[in-house]
C-alpha cells in the first residue's frame, strides 16, 4: 500500500468527525446562533460515548450517549443565549471549559480501559476492489459513509424545505421572520440542539471508532478546526466536504510520517493543521467580497421581540 494511499484512508476517517461537527455548527450559525463550544461538546460526547461503548458494547447506544452529552451542553448554550440573551461568545467559551471538565468526570474511571467494541470497515462489493480508489473511498466504516448523505441532506433541508427557510431567515433577519410568523426562538433552539447532537456524535466517533480510548482532552483542538471549516465553506454545507478532507489529510500526514519513520519532528507536523488553517483562512477571507462570504447577518445577535431596531 502506497504512502499516499494509507494517508488518504486515515484522512477520510479523520475528516468524518470534522464533517459531523461542522455540519451541526453550520446549521446553528445559519439560524443565527454562534456556538463556540464545539470542542467542549465533542469532548463530553467522546467521554459519554466511550463510557457507554465500554459498558454496553453497543455502538448505537454509544452514539446516542455521545449525542446526549453534546446535546445537553448545547441546550445550556441555547437557554443562556436565546432565552436569556447572554453574550454568545462568553457562553460558548465557558462551555468549552465546562465540557472539558465534565468529560474528565464522566471518563475518569475509563481512562486506559480497553474497548472491546470494534467498528469494522464495510467494504462495498465490487467498488472496493478498484485499485487505490477502492480502499480509500469504498472500504470505510459507516460513519464515513454517513458523512456524505448528511451533508447532502442538510443542504436539501436548508435550501429546499420550509424548515430550511425558517432557519435561514432566523439567522438573516429574525425580526422580519418573526413578523412573517416564523417561531424564531424555537427554530434557534432546534438548530442549536442539532449542532450539539452532531458534535456529540463526532466526539463519540473520535473516542470509540478512531482512538478507541479515552484520555482527557482527547480531541486536541479539532472542535476549533470544525469551527474554522464553517467559515471556509462560506456557510454552505456541500463545501464542508472538500474543506474537511483537506484538513483530515494534513492531520493524517502526521500519523503516517511518524509511522513511516521519516525524520520529521512530530511538533512541526502537529503545528501544520493550525498554521495551514490560518493561512487559508486569511487568504479566503481576504479575497472574498463581504457579500460572498455568506455569513448570516444576524449571527451572534440575540433576538428580542421588544427591542427597537
Amino acid at each position: 500500500m502506497s504512502f499516499i494511499e494509507s494517508a488518504l484512508i486515515v484522512a477520510m476517517a479523520l475528516s468524518a468527525p470534522l464533517i459531523f461537527a461542522a455540519t451541526g455548527e453550520l446549521v446553528a450559525e445559519r439560524a443565527g446562533v454562534l456556538n463556540l463550544s464545539i470542542e467542549g461538546m465533542m469532548l463530553l460526547g467522546a467521554a459519554a460515548g466511550f463510557r457507554a461503548a465500554v459498558d454496553t458494547g453497543n455502538i448505537y447506544v454509544a452514539v446516542i450517549a455521545g449525542a446526549i452529552g453534546g446535546g445537553l451542553l448545547s441546550l445550556i448554550h441555547a437557554f443562556l443565549c436565546i432565552s436569556l440573551r447572554a453574550n454568545q461568545i462568553v457562553s460558548g467559551l465557558t462551555l468549552v471549559l465546562l465540557g472539558a471538565g465534565l468529560a474528565s468526570f464522566v471518563g475518569h474511571d475509563y481512562a486506559g480501559v480497553p474497548l472491546e467494541l470494534k467498528v469494522d470497515a464495510v467494504a462495498i462489493p465490487g467498488l472496493s476492489m478498484i485499485p487505490f480508489v477502492g480502499p480509500v473511498l469504498f472500504n470505510q466504516d459507516l460513519f464515513v459513509y454517513a458523512a456524505v448523505p448528511l451533508v447532502i441532506g442538510v443542504t436539501y433541508l436548508l435550501f429546499r424545505t420550509r424548515l430550511g427557510q425558517w432557519i435561514r431567515s432566523s439567522g438573516e433577519a429574525p425580526a422580519a421572520a418573526d413578523a412573517a410568523g416564523v417561531p424564531v426562538t424555537w427554530v434557534r433552539y432546534a438548530a442549536t440542539l442539532f449542532g450539539g447532537l452532531l458534535a456529540g456524535v463526532a466526539g463519540t466517533y473520535f473516542s470509540v471508532v478512531f482512538a478507541r480510548a479515552w484520555t482527557d482532552n482527547l480531541t486536541a483542538g479539532r472542535g476549533w478546526i470544525a469551527l474554522a471549516l464553517v467559515i471556509f465553506a462560506s456557510w454552505r454545507p456541500l463545501m464542508l466536504l472538500p474543506a474537511a478532507l483537506f484538513f483530515g489529510f494534513i492531520d493524517s500526514l502526521n500519523f503516517q510520517l511518524q509511522a513511516s519513520g521519516v525524520k520529521v519532528s512530530a511538533d512541526i507536523l502537529g503545528m501544520m493543521p493550525y498554521v495551514l488553517t490560518l493561512v487559508v483562512l486569511v487568504v479566503v477571507w481576504g479575497r472574498q467580497q463581504r457579500k460572498h462570504r455568506g455569513m448570516p447577518r444576524a449571527l451572534g445577535v440575540p433576538y428580542e421581540r421588544e427591542a427597537r431596531a
Binding site: 465534565l102 467559515i231 512541526i268 502537529g270 503545528m271 488553517t277 490560518l278
Partner: protein, 374 residues
C-alpha cells in the same frame, strides 16, 4: 388565572446600586457554582464535604498552600488583565496561552544569550523580550483583524496550538537539556535570573510585579486620553470614526498591550516557579484568564480578586487527587461560576413586580393597583 407577578425590564442604572447588584450577582454565582460542584461530587460517588475540605486546605489552609495559591495567581492576574483590556475594545483575545508561551520563549532566548549578565541587567532584558514576544505574537491575529476583519477568536486560539508545538519542539530539539533525556523542559535559566522570595516567605516577587502592572494598566486605561479613546472606539466604531479615531490603529495597539502583558506572565513563570522553558508553563492560565476577565467585568481590581480566587480553586483542585475526585472539578466550578454570572446578569436586568389586582365594588373588571416590590 392571573398570576400577580410581572417581569419588567429594569432601567439601566448607574452608581452604587448598580455596583452592589454587580457584586451581588458574582457572590451568588460563586455560591451557586460551588453548590452544583458539590452535587456533581456526590453524583460521582464521593463525599462533597471531604472534597471541599481538601480543596480548602490545599488552597488556603496552610502557609505553604497560600504561597502556592499566590504563585498560581500571578500568571492568572496577568492573563486575566490581558483579556480584560482587549475586551474594552470589544476584542476577544483568546490567545493568552500562546502569548504567554511565546513571551517565555523570548525571555528564555535572552537568558541563554546572556548567561553571565548580572541580574540587574538580565532580568529587565528578559521581561522586555517577553513583552515584545507576546505583543508580536498577538499581532498575527491583530493585523488580519484590522485589515480584513477576520475573526480574532479563531486566529488567537489557533496560535495557542502553534505556540505550544513550537515550545515543545524547542525543548525536545535545540534547547534540550542534555542531562534530562525525555523530559519536556529546556536547559535551566541562568541562576541569577531566578527571582527570590520576599522577606523570607515563599511568596515570589512575581505577584508584586503583576499588581504593579494592573495599577499601571488602570492608570493608562482609566486616566489617560488614549484609554478614553479605546473605550469610545470599542463602544461605537462609527462614532469613533467621526471623531477621527482610527479603529485599525487601536486594534493593533490594544492587541500589542494585551499580548505583552500575557507575554510578561510567561517571563515571570520562567523567573519564578519553573526556571526552565517547558510546554506546561502555561497549563491553562491563558484560558482561565478569559474566565477571570469575565468574572471581573470592567473592574481591574476585580481581575486581581478573580485571579486569586480562581488560583485558589485550581490549587485546591490539585489537592483533590487524594480524595478520588477528578481535579477537573476546579475547572467545572470555574465554568459554572461564569455561567451563573451570565444567568444572574440577565436576570438582574429585570425586576419582579407584584401586581395586586383588587376587585372594586361596582366596577365591571379588575382594576390593577400596582405596587413595586423589588
Amino acid at each position: 388565572m392571573n398570576i400577580p407577578l410581572r417581569f419588567e425590564r429594569r432601567t439601566p442604572g448607574t452608581g452604587v446600586a448598580e455596583r452592589v447588584r454587580h457584586a451581588l450577582v458574582r457572590v451568588l454565582a460563586i455560591f451557586a457554582g460551588l453548590v452544583v460542584g458539590a452535587i456533581l461530587v456526590e453524583a460521582s460517588g464521593n463525599s462533597w464535604y471531604e472534597a471541599f475540605s481538601a480543596m480548602l486546605t490545599g488552597s488556603v489552609g496552610t502557609v505553604d498552600s497560600i504561597e502556592a495559591t499566590l504563585l498560581r495567581a500571578t500568571p492568572l492576574i496577568l492573563t486575566g488583565l490581558a483579556v480584560s483590556l482587549a475586551l474594552r475594545m470589544q476584542l476577544w483575545n483568546i490567545g493568552g496561552e500562546g502569548q504567554l508561551l511565546i513571551g517565555a520563549t523570548a525571555a528564555g532566548a535572552v537568558g541563554f544569550a546572556l548567561p553571565d549578565a548580572p541580574a540587574a541587567i538580565l532580568v529587565p532584558c528578559m521581561m522586555l523580550a517577553a513583552c515584545v514576544g507576546g505583543a508580536l505574537w498577538a499581532q498575527i491575529a491583530a493585523v488580519p483583524k484590522a485589515r480584513i476583519g477576520l475573526n480574532e477568536i479563531i486566529v488567537t486560539l489557533f496560535l495557542n496550538y502553534v505556540a505550544l508545538r513550537l515550545v515543545s519542539w524547542l525543548v525536545f530539539g535545540p534547547w534540550k537539556d542534555a542531562g534530562a533525556i525525555g523530559f519536556a523542559y529546556s536547559r535551566p535559566m541562568p541562576d541569577q535570573s531566578r527571582t527570590g522570595s520576599v522577606l523570607g516567605t515563599g511568596v515570589t516577587v512575581g505577584i508584586f510585579v503583576a499588581i504593579v502592572v494592573v495599577l499601571m494598566a488602570g492608570w493608562v486605561f482609566n486616566r489617560t486620553s488614549w484609554g478614553f479613546t479605546v473605550d469610545i472606539t470599542g463602544g461605537n466604531q462609527r462614532a469613533a470614526a467621526y471623531l477621527g479615531f482610527s479603529a485599525k490603529k487601536h486594534v493593533l495597539l490594544v492587541f500589542a498591550v494585551s499580548g505583552a502583558i500575557a507575554g510578561l506572565a510567561g517571563c515571570l513563570q520562567l523567573l519564578g516557579p519553573t526556571g526552565r522553558l517547558q510546554p506546561d508553563l502555561a497549563s491553562g492560565y491563558g484560558y482561565a484568564g478569559i474566565l477571570v476577565a469575565f468574572l471581573a467585568g470592567r473592574s481591574l481590581g476585580g481581575v486581581v480578586v478573580g485571579g486569586v480566587l480562581f488560583a485558589a480553586l485550581t490549587q485546591g483542585g490539585f489537592a483533590l487527587q487524594a480524595t478520588g475526585v477528578p481535579s477537573a472539578l476546579a475547572t467545572v466550578i470555574q465554568a459554572l461560576v461564569i455561567l451563573f454570572v451570565l444567568v444572574g446578569t440577565a436576570a438582574s436586568a429585570y425586576r419582579l413586580r407584584w401586581v395586586r389586582t383588587t376587585q372594586l365594588h361596582g366596577t365591571p373588571g379588575p382594576l390593577p393597583v400596582e405596587k413595586v416590590v423589588a
